[in-house]
């Protein structure tokens, strides 16, 4: 069985009085490329952060490859996993942040090798060779020795993608990867993501780039007010949406 199955069942999450997620159900097949679109405040990012347990859910559960994220089932109770176990689970779920969140005090190469060495216990030299390969893949082989602040936003985000890939995750989550970028830098990041599609890794991309969703995604998920309103192939969801809320949103952004 290929890896990268994501199951989300009845997930609720409340921040204070704001209900960010109000019962989300979603199944993502291994290797599938999913674009999650929707108005801001619709719960897209919260859902993505719940998948790698950066956000604890109030109700419902998330499972990756059949393993509950953040919990273990003992009979009729879900027991919260110790932090160590959660950290282990996260090494199989890559996450790319809107603001890159590269470690500014480490070089580009150190950013990429940090997790394989410290979290997976890989040999440093081996990890370094692989990191150089990954940097080459995102077109930044010559930037290995510089620190993140010396790079453009687009370059930083490509390093962040290489950093996430270094753990060889079965699932890669992108939280609005191009929203913090100048318009002319969006393309280079989307190209890298596009190249990852079809490599077997499950990609979930929260994005406002409708054209990108149409071109690259297998499935488009439209979320609004904390629920999944509509999902399906881009041709259907983006060209002939059934739900009036989807239609209203698309009219605004297109």
């Amino acid at each position: 069985m290929s890896k990268g199955l994501i199951e989300v069942h009845g997930v609720h999450k409340t921040f204070g009085t704001v209900e960010a997620l109000r019962g989300v159900d979603l199944t993502i097949r291994p290797g599938e490329v999913v674009a999650i679109v929707g108005p801001s405040g619709s719960g897209k990012s919260t859902l993505l952060r719940a998948v790698n347990h950066l956000e604890k859910v109030d109700r419902g559960f998330v499972a990756v490859d059949g393993e509950l994220v953040g919990y273990a089932r003992r009979g009729d109770v879900l027991r919260e996993l110790p932090e160590k176990e959660v950290l282990r689970q996260r090494t199989r779920i890559g996450f790319v942040f809107q603001n890159f969140n590269l470690f500014p005090h480490l070089t580009v190469l150190e950013n990429v090798t940090e997790a394989p060495v410290a979290a997976l216990g890989r040999a440093p030299l081996e990890a370094e060779a692989e990191a150089r390969e990954l940097l080459d893949r995102v077109g930044l082989a010559d930037k290995a020795g510089v620190r993140p602040r010396q790079l453009s936003g687009g370059q930083q985000q490509r390093v962040a993608i290489a950093r996430a890939l270094a753990l060889r995750p079965s699932v890669l989550l992108f939280d609005e990867p191009t929203s913090a970028l100048d318009p002319e830098l969006v393309g280079e990041v989307l190209r890298v993501i596009k190249d990852l599609a079809g490599t077997g890794t499950t990609l979930v991309v929260v994005t406002h780039e409708i054209a990108f969703a149409r071109e690259v995604a297998d499935t488009v998920v439209f979320m609004d007010r904390g629920v999944v309103v509509e999902q399906g192939p881009p041709a259907r969801v983006l060209e002939a949406p059934e739900n009036p809320r989807t239609r209203a949103f698309l009219e605004k952004v297109l």
């Binding site: 942040f97 969140n101 590269l102 470690f103 500014p104 410290a118 950093r163 753990l167």
Partner: protein, 344 residues
């Protein structure tokens, strides 16, 4: 109406005759003319006057230092490198280093406790800071030195259970350790807040990125968060270390041989040389503080890596570059600097 405008325009275009003459020669010549002119800096009489006053005051201070023989510079020179004074200075350094280490190690633990999710840990950390910041260091020193009165023996073992090792408190807490406890434990209370402030200054995204990469908890702190916190911790921490260096003179109440105590013993013995010996101690404190400041510069530079796009040159690099430029300007024929300069 349009006629009015025309009139207005004509008035605007009226140009002084001098400029008009230049305009006739064409705009290019005006630019060339301006480029040829000499630039004269503005006069700043206020700045000159203030500088003169400062210079006079400075000259007066130096003059009095040199001519007033009550400073007894010969005595200062004699005692500056007096073996017991040097020994005292080294003791002061030892006290400062050890109590700073104790202070910041414990302070970091207290900061992490304060930031933990456990209310008890938070409360303990808060109470510690409250107590040790409130009681004067002088009192703390004396209390620690008299610990044997409260607890004649100390033991190591399981709380409320069997004990394995016993110590005689008087033998264990000598003057050095009483000083370290007094200075270090109260320093920890201040350091805790400094470290906590540093940790809070690190972007939340850094914690999240470290967690999402599955880095072990310890590694998240030691490799990702604390090094970045250091950038804002260092300047205040160095301030604290300098305070500790000078504050360690308070340990003289324990009759411990640190710099100030040694100096006071010497002038107590030979009565008439109080001021020169105080000057001796001041010079030592000044020298040690200078050393710390230099170290601070390089430590700050180290932690600025990545925070700045390019680091400014160090004073040494600046000096070297300045010298190289001067060497080139001097035009020493055949000098490597000159050759490189010509090649550029």
């Amino acid at each position: 109406m349009s006629a009015e405008f025309a009139q207005d325009e004509s008035r605007l275009l009226r140009v002084p005759p001098v400029l008009l003459a230049e305009r006739d020669a064409g705009p290019a010549s005006t630019a060339a003319e301006l480029a040829r002119l000499r630039v004269r800096p503005a006069l700043r009489p206020g700045r000159w006057a203030a500088s003169a006053v400062a210079g006079l005051v400075l000259a007066g201070v130096v003059w009095s230092l040199v001519t007033n023989d009550r400073w007894q510079w010969d005595v200062v020179a004699t005692y500056l490198t007096w073996p017991s004074v040097v020994e005292g200075a080294l003791t002061t350094v030892r006290l400062t280093v050890v109590s700073a280490l104790v202070g910041f190690a414990l302070g970091t633990v207290l900061a992490l406790m304060r930031l933990s999710a456990s209310p008890l840990l938070q409360a303990v950390s808060w109470a510690y800071t409250w107590v040790f910041r409130s009681v004067p260091v002088l009192l703390q020193l004396l209390l620690w030195y008299n610990l044997a009165y409260l607890y004649p023996t100390l033991s190591l073992g399981i709380p409320f259970g069997p004990q394995f090792l016993w110590f005689d408190t008087v033998g264990l807490i000598d003057k050095f350790w009483a000083a370290i406890l007094g200075l270090g434990l109260s320093q920890a209370a201040y350091s805790a807040e400094i470290v906590r402030g540093g940790i809070l200054s690190v972007d939340q995204g850094q914690h999240e990125a470290a967690a999402s990469l599955g880095l072990p908890r310890r590694r998240q702190w030691t490799r990702i968060v604390l090094p970045q916190a250091m950038r804002s911790v260092v300047p205040t921490a160095v301030n604290e270390v300098i305070g500790l260096l000078k504050g360690s003179s308070i340990v003289y109440v324990l009759a411990y041989n640190e710099l100030f105590y040694v100096v006071s013993i010497i002038y107590g013995r030979n009565g008439s040389q109080v001021v020169p010996l105080l000057v001796v101690a001041s010079i030592w404190y000044l020298a040690l503080t200078t050393l710390i400041t230099v170290v601070q510069y390089y430590v700050e530079r180290h932690y600025a890596r990545g925070a700045l796009r390019t680091l400014p040159p160090t004073p040494l690099q600046r000096l070297r570059r300045g010298f190289a430029a001067w060497w080139r300007a001097a035009g020493a024929p055949g000098a490597p600097g000159a050759a490189r300069g010509a090649a550029r």
